[in-house]
């Protein structure tokens, strides 16, 4: 599976090119002079001339694109208008928090969705199942900021069980501060996963290999963990990969609700600060993260499912 990794990475090049095009075009949507927009309040005639020369805004569009790609390949995303340091530095400073948050959220989603999908599937069409499906149906229609705000308002502000924002100091405090945001994201994701997982588990429970496992006389929990769970996990991964875009989109919102200093919060700050290079950079990073997660889930799937290894 690792042997195929370089091939898989090569396959992602067209995706990265497409992402580059979108991010490039994005800034061209700005009304008026892009150089002026990029410089924002710092736009002096000299600075405009410098930027125009540096970024080539006076050259043909395709040349501009090549220059843009060239800078990207050198890890150059431009200079942040508000902080006056390279965008890559701004992002690098705030990316780790987002990564930890997303990983925690994925774990929460798994802890929530998988057991509940099992419970629902094992009680198919009985009261428990109908109730769970009802709850998740409502969960699917609940905007993520609302879930977050309710958590923050009741568990944080009212009951003081959790801090109401920021990330605190130190590792333990950090996890404590990220607990509610991650739980919010996890609930949102589990609502999406739950529906398909339930039908997946129902399908696996009916599979003949589960019947065969029971005919071997092995304990029910071993049938559930060794066969049903194991086989459902593959679909779970696929579903997770498909929905990672939604998860990252939600991260932008949740970081705002909980004032988490990650790149999602950065994106919204940059929007209101008209810091377009940062908007561009964060958008790029989020899109690249989605493709990388696609790749990771692919690799994990082939690790869990020997049939994919030919």
């Amino acid at each position: 599976m690792l042997a195929r990794l370089p091939g898989r990475l090569l396959q992602m090049i067209p995706t990265f090119v497409l992402i580059g095009i979108v991010v490039f075009v994005l800034i061209r949507l700005l009304p008026g002079d892009p150089a002026a927009a990029l410089l924002g309040i710092h736009a002096t005639p000299e600075a405009l001339a410098r930027i125009n020369a540096q970024l080539g805004f006076n050259r043909p569009v395709w040349v501009q694109f090549l220059l843009f790609v060239g800078r990207l390949l050198h890890g150059d995303l431009g200079i942040s208008v508000s902080e006056r340091i390279p965008v890559t530095e701004v992002i690098a400073r705030r990316l780790p928090v987002t990564l930890i948050l997303v990983v925690m959220a994925a774990i929460f989603a798994l802890i929530l969705a998988l057991p509940l999908a099992f419970v629902a599937a094992l009680h198919q069409n009985r009261l428990t199942d109908v109730a769970l499906r009802g709850i998740f149906q409502v969960g699917l229609s609940t905007p993520i900021f609302y879930i977050g705000l309710l958590m923050l308002g009741f568990l944080g502000a009212r009951l003081h069980w959790f801090p109401v924002g920021g990330i605190g100091n130190g590792v333990v405090s950090g996890f404590y501060h990220l607990f509610l945001p991650a739980l919010t994201l996890g609930i949102g994701l589990s609502a999406i996963l739950m529906r398909s997982l339930r039908s997946t588990v129902i399908g696996v429970l009916r599979a003949e290999y589960v019947e065969f496992a029971r005919a071997k006389g092995i304990a029910p929990w071993r049938v559930l963990t060794g066969h049903v769970l194991r086989n459902s996990l593959i679909t779970t991964l696929t579903l997770f990969g498909l929905n990672v875009g939604t998860l990252l989109g939600n991260t932008v919102i949740v970081e705002n609700v909980f004032a988490v200093p990650g790149i999602g919060g950065l994106l919204v700050e940059a929007i209101f600060g008209r810091d377009y290079p940062v908007v561009q950079g964060v958008t790029l990073v989020l899109a690249v993260m989605v493709s990388l997660v696609f790749l990771l889930t692919d690799i994990a799937e082939s690790w869990l499912d020997p049939r994919l290894n030919g």
Binding site: L26, L29, P143, F145, R158, V244, G245, L248, V279
Partner: protein, 288 residues
Amino acid sequence: MSGALPTLAEAPTEASLRRKRLRISVPLTLGIIITVFFLVCAIVPGWIAPYDPLSFDYSNLQVGPSWIHLLGTDNFGRDELSRIIWAAQVDIQIALFCTIPPLIVGTIIGSLVGYYGGIADMIFGRVVDLVVTFPFMVLVIAIVAVLGPGLVNVYIAVSAVGWVFYARLVRSEIMVLRQADFAAAGRVMGYSDLRIIFRHLLPNALIAVVVYWMTDMALDILLGSSLGYLGLGAQPPTAEWGVLVSDGKNFMDTSWWMSVFPGIAIVLCGTGLSLLGDGVADLLAVKR
């Protein structure tokens, strides 16, 4: 004679089969009721809202739910219930304006691409790859960021991305329908391609589009209110559910009703629309 009678009684008539097939389920009924309720709120808010949603009342600031103000008042003494009812207008508008342009554009492009295939289809495939790679919300936020906050720019941003999903759906339907006998019959009759596509093929694909449209409206209400909450969508003083939630967020510990009730409106409206979509899909046996 005697043998014919039981047969008559047992054989399901066309009408009874249809009744059986079109049995309206409980979730669908719920979906219809909720959706109609919010539509009424959106169309004639003035008939339902007990108060003027904009009139300040400094003697009743942040009063909790009571018989006078069912859902309490906000920090300017405005009646929360009336604000929520008037906000339905904006959110239903979001649901429609975020979905109808993509529906029309996507359906037309999807039909053409599905019917003709070739290079257009290949280019379309790339576009789909792209949109799938980008987190939808991030792309919309990025476009709004560049165009500037505001509802009109939200409509533009969502439409710029959303048409792809409709086009993808219609394309796959048309590609199947293209093979059908009546399409060949149309060609034999010498009908023009456009007439075959839009008069003969597309009507058969429309059920799937309508079902997707209902779910999409539910998603766009969530998206629109999220952007409103972030300050990128509807701008105050426009009452929009997401904006209302945001207005109350700083008063969660003292005046919880200010955020909680508008949020419930979003959840209810979203649930109603998706129940409606799911129910119609089940009813017409559309696979999703």
